[in-house]
């Protein structure tokens, strides 16, 4: 089976490593970006669009919400599933991210199991993959 591709967008290298480890276990090929602009630049050069992006909110240059808005405005990136992974935990922030076009929202800190369950909700891993 061809691995799916995931983009891990976070300005923390440690967080990128954690997320990368989780998605790699789930058979994704992972690409890293340190902020939203870097992620958009990488996407512009890709012939095949990743199926999944895990996106931090607060990052330099371009934050996660702006990244989501940009992706949603680009028909070429329509198929990407966007998951915010952030410490922003106010209800209004979650509503904003969903309204901008994020599919799911994971609040830091999270467990690996919780992340896998969220991806299962999105049909990106078999249900029960973590059990």
């Amino acid at each position: 089976m061809t691995p799916m591709r995931a983009m891990v967008i976070d300005d923390s290298r440690a967080m990128r490593m954690i997320l990368k480890r989780i998605v790699t276990k789930l058979n994704f090929d992972a690409v890293e970006a340190g902020d939203g602009q870097e992620a958009l630049d990488l996407l512009a050069d890709m012939t095949e669009v990743p199926e999944l992006a895990l996106i931090d909110w607060n990052m330099p240059n371009m934050n996660g919400l702006e990244f989501v808005t940009n992706v949603r405005a680009d028909p070429r990136l329509r198929e990407m599933t966007l998951v915010m992974v952030t410490t922003e935990s106010e209800q209004s922030q979650i509503v904003r991210a969903l309204a901008a076009g994020a599919h799911e929202y994971v609040i830091k800190p999270f467990t690996e199991g919780a992340m896998i369950e969220k991806l299962a909700l999105l049909g990106l891993v078999p249900t029960g993959a973590n059990s």
């Binding site: 509503v95 991210a97 799911e104 199991g113 369950e117």
Partner: protein, 281 residues
């Protein structure tokens, strides 16, 4: 029944040594709730007796059971998903036809623990039943602490990450300090009470749907039969019983028949069998 300090110390030393997990003081209720099924499964009358025996005669198999029980992940929302999908796709559409006079559905979350299943049921009914319908969810548990916790309806950040779609988090929860609390709109349809499923059950209005999941696995066959017979008395004749994926009524209580419900199975009381009757073959 509550764990004494020395019993709690015995268990926390064991899990720290074997699983590197630290049980902070104040988790006594959690330890007790998790060990009740373990104690039952090895034939002890209660957790105190189970721990006393284990301290007298160490048994690696029983120690393993304690570790497993205390290291299992916390309950998820919409756990296993399929039973909830079956409710939406199969059970509730049928009940909407058969209950059109009363326009009310009653669901029992048996062994409701910290309440995630009961509130997941409430969300499912809230979103599936047509306007003008009402519903009641009753959660029951053997642990006073768990009943209290479920009634509080407050969950940590970590807990709300577990299997709960973000759209439902923002719709059915509100922030309560560092926690999230189920909205009063949902809470008003959900109640909790203390109940031991293996003892004679109090009389209650019967339910249209019973979720009795991952409970029977902890009991011996005779106790399983008692619990299933008790449940049958509280299930409407055309109601639906959902068990855990590893559980069945087959070979235990033939009053039930297994039926397909979406991509999973449910159990219904066979027609012509008086409710709660014990049929011997």
């Amino acid at each position: 029944m509550t764990l004494s300090q020395s019993e709690f110390a015995f268990v926390s030393t064991l899990v720290r040594k074997e699983a590197s997990i630290v049980l902070a003081p104040g988790k006594e209720y959690l330890v007790e709730a998790r060990l009740i099924p373990v104690a039952r499964s090895v034939g002890a009358a209660n957790v105190n007796e189970f721990l006393a025996e284990l301290q007298r005669r160490p048994d690696p198999a029983h120690q393993r059971k304690i570790i497993d029980a205390l290291t299992t992940n916390e309950t998820s929302w919409f756990r296993d998903r399929e039973p909830f999908a079956a409710l939406t796709d199969v059970v509730l559409p049928e009940l909407v036809k058969s209950r059109s006079a009363a326009r009310k559905v009653r669901v029992w979350s048996a062994a409701s623990s910290s309440g995630q299943e009961a509130y997941s049921l409430a969300i499912t009914l809230q979103e599936t039943l047509p306007g003008g319908w009402s519903y009641e969810i009753m959660g029951t548990d053997i642990s006073t602490e768990m009943v209290k916790r479920a009634e509080t309806a407050e969950y940590s950040q970590v807990e709300v990450n577990r299997g709960l779609p973000a759209s439902q988090l923002v719709q059915y929860f509100e922030r309560a300090g560092a926690h999230w609390r189920i909205t009063s709109q949902l809470r008003k349809n959900v109640s909790f009470r203390l109940m031991n499923l293996t003892a004679p059950l109090p009389s209650m209005q019967p339910f249209d749907v019973i979720f009795l999941r991952n409970v029977l696995i902890y009991f011996d066959v005779a106790t399983k039969r008692t619990v299933l017979q008790n449940a049958a008395k509280l299930l409407r004749p055309d109601g639906w019983l959902f068990l855990g994926a590893a559980e069945t009524t087959i070979g235990i209580d033939d009053n039930y028949e297994r039926v397909a419900a979406g991509r999973t199975s449910a159990y219904r009381v066979r027609t012509g069998v008086p409710v709660g009757a014990s049929r011997r073959g």
